[in-house]
């Protein structure tokens, strides 16, 4: 680990000032400390924001508002989240381990950096870590990599399960800087690699995530997360699906579907949703809609199986949430 200056920010204004001067924010530390030790991250100044007050979970009539410093474990276990936003509880509890969920924060969760081995190996070519050096994964070991949203610069998957649920539910990131506040949909906040894979998110220098807001609705209560992986627990997704359905009088009124583990960003399946809305739920519909879950996929030499796996994961989760009948 490279040396750095450590600053404990006692107040929000102190944190924003230190951030504006190039400080790197730290809260749970579960990603940053690991990457600093690997020398992937080399901040000169680390700003501890854990004394800031973003720890509230507020469930209003129309939205759930979650402070950026809320721990994964606490959001997952919140009774209103469990009952009205089960997809969020499930995505969180299928992530990482109990210890990590006690440490990691919600703001940090959506800022997670890729798990690509070449990104984490400072001797390997990686456009995300060192722009212009190439992508060792495209011709290398890429079984776990993305088939959707890739570019010829980067094919790393986005690691967060929570972000898949948030994108499915149209959640918004609440940002603050010395210039004021901004609200950005999570789906826009997390960027596809394109020609600038090092620009992972739409966060301006010194800007701080203060929370997320999730609009509620009839669909959020009937929702869930399915994660398929190499081992049963404590593993990143090979494919995952967040599904939320509003079914009334035998008709699907609203549908939200997003997949994880197969794309460079949490991947919303708007075409699949369109095929579901207005129809009667049932096995045939799940099969017909999920057939489009990997439309546009560009498999690499090691991860072709993810195309079929994504479709089956979506189909199974549609049946689980919407009913098999």
């Amino acid at each position: 680990m490279y040396p750095f200056t450590f600053i404990k920010a006692p107040t929000e204004s102190a944190a924003l000032a230190a951030g504006a001067q190039g400080g790197k924010y730290i809260a749970g530390g579960t990603t940053l400390v690991d990457l600093m030790r690997e020398t992937v991250e080399r901040p000169g100044k680390v700003v501890d924001i854990t004394a800031l007050p973003y720890r509230e979970i507020e469930s209003g009539p129309s939205a759930l508002r979650v402070g950026a410093l809320v721990r994964m474990a606490d959001l997952a276990a919140h009774p209103v989240v469990r009952s009205r936003f089960p997809v969020i509880s499930q995505a969180l509890e299928l992530s990482a381990s109990a210890q990590l969920r006690n440490m990691a924060t919600i703001g940090g969760n959506i800022m997670q950096r890729p798990r690509c081995l070449y990104f984490r190996d400072v001797t390997a070519a990686c456009n995300r870590r060192a722009p212009g050096t190439g992508c060792a994964a495209i011709g290398g070991e890429n079984r776990g990599h993305a088939v959707l949203g890739t570019s010829d610069q980067c094919v790393a998957t986005h690691p967060s399960d929570l972000a898949v649920a948030l994108v499915a539910l149209d959640a918004v990131v609440l940002l603050r800087s010395r210039d004021g506040d901004r609200r950005i949909p999570v789906a826009e906040f997390i960027r596809r690699p394109g020609t600038t894979p090092d620009k992972e998110h739409d966060l301006r220098p010194g800007e701080l995530i203060v929370g997320i807001e999730v609009p509620g609705g009839a669909h959020t209560a009937r929702s869930g997360y399915l994660k398929v992986r190499d081992r049963q627990s404590y593993e990143f997704a090979l494919a995952s699906a967040a599904v939320a359905l509003d079914i009334r009088d035998g008709v699907i009124r609203d549908a939200r579907v997003a997949v994880g583990g197969v794309a460079t960003v949490p991947w919303r399946l708007s075409d699949v949703e369109r095929l579901l809305i207005g129809k009667a739920p049932g096995a045939e519909l799940w099969a017909a809609a999920s057939a489009h879950a990997a439309d546009g996929a560009k498999p690499l030499h090691g991860n072709g199986f993810k195309v079929e796996l994504a479709k089956r994961t979506v189909e199974r989760q549609l049946a689980s949430i919407g009913g098999a009948a």
């Binding site: 450590f6 030790r37 381990s97 990590l100």
Partner: protein, 194 residues
């Protein structure tokens, strides 16, 4: 080598563990071209471990795990992967189980920690320590301190309703010997007693 001299001199009075740690740090800096100068003065941290107050000055890079092992000589907490993948370093921070390798010691000024050394009370083993012996829940023993601390957290959280639930909520602790069957039995036994 100029760089090696101070370490060699110091090593005369260091334990083997400190010596190995010091040499590793020096070698790491040499290969990455880093310098310790920016943090030479260190950062003061005071915290309570197993009921005992400690005040130390540490390099800002020090993990909570290294503070326990190197500065406080509490070597019961083990370093396995040092990247949050194995759970050997599990401790209770303000009553909750965490991976001590993935957090900076300087972030925990004023914190209360419990490590494996702090579980027994008045010479009596903690019920989960006793259960590990009763059910033969370890082989080489390297992961055991982390397993027990994690198990204490798991019991407190109330995730011990069945063997399946224990397996899921203890999945952050890897046992390379494969003693899982008996570890689950131990946690189950202690959960029933609590």
């Amino acid at each position: 080598m100029a760089q090696g001299t101070p370490e060699s001199d110091r090593s005369l009075t260091l334990t083997r563990r400190q010596f190995v740690g010091a040499v590793t740090t020096t070698a790491g800096l040499a290969t990455t071209g880093g310098s310790a100068s920016a943090t030479e003065d260190g950062v003061p941290v005071s915290l309570t471990v197993n009921g005992k107050h400690h005040a130390v000055v540490v390099d800002a890079r020090t993990s909570l795990l290294d503070l326990l092992r190197e500065d406080l000589q509490l070597t019961g907490t083990h370093k396995g992967c040092d990247q949050g993948a194995c759970g050997a370093c599990t401790v209770l921070l303000d009553g909750r189980r965490i991976n001590s390798c993935l957090t900076l010691a300087v972030m925990h000024d004023g914190a209360e920690l419990t490590t494996i050394e702090g579980l027994a009370e008045g010479g009596e083993l903690h019920p989960l320590q006793r259960a590990f012996i009763d059910t033969d829940a370890f082989q080489c023993g390297y992961c055991t301190a982390g397993q027990i601390m994690s198990g204490v957290g798991c019991i407190r959280e109330g995730h011990c309703g069945s063997g399946t639930e224990i397996r899921e909520w203890m999945s952050g602790n890897i046992c390379r010997c494969g003693a899982y069957q008996n570890i689950v039995a131990a946690v189950q036994q202690a959960a029933k007693e609590s």
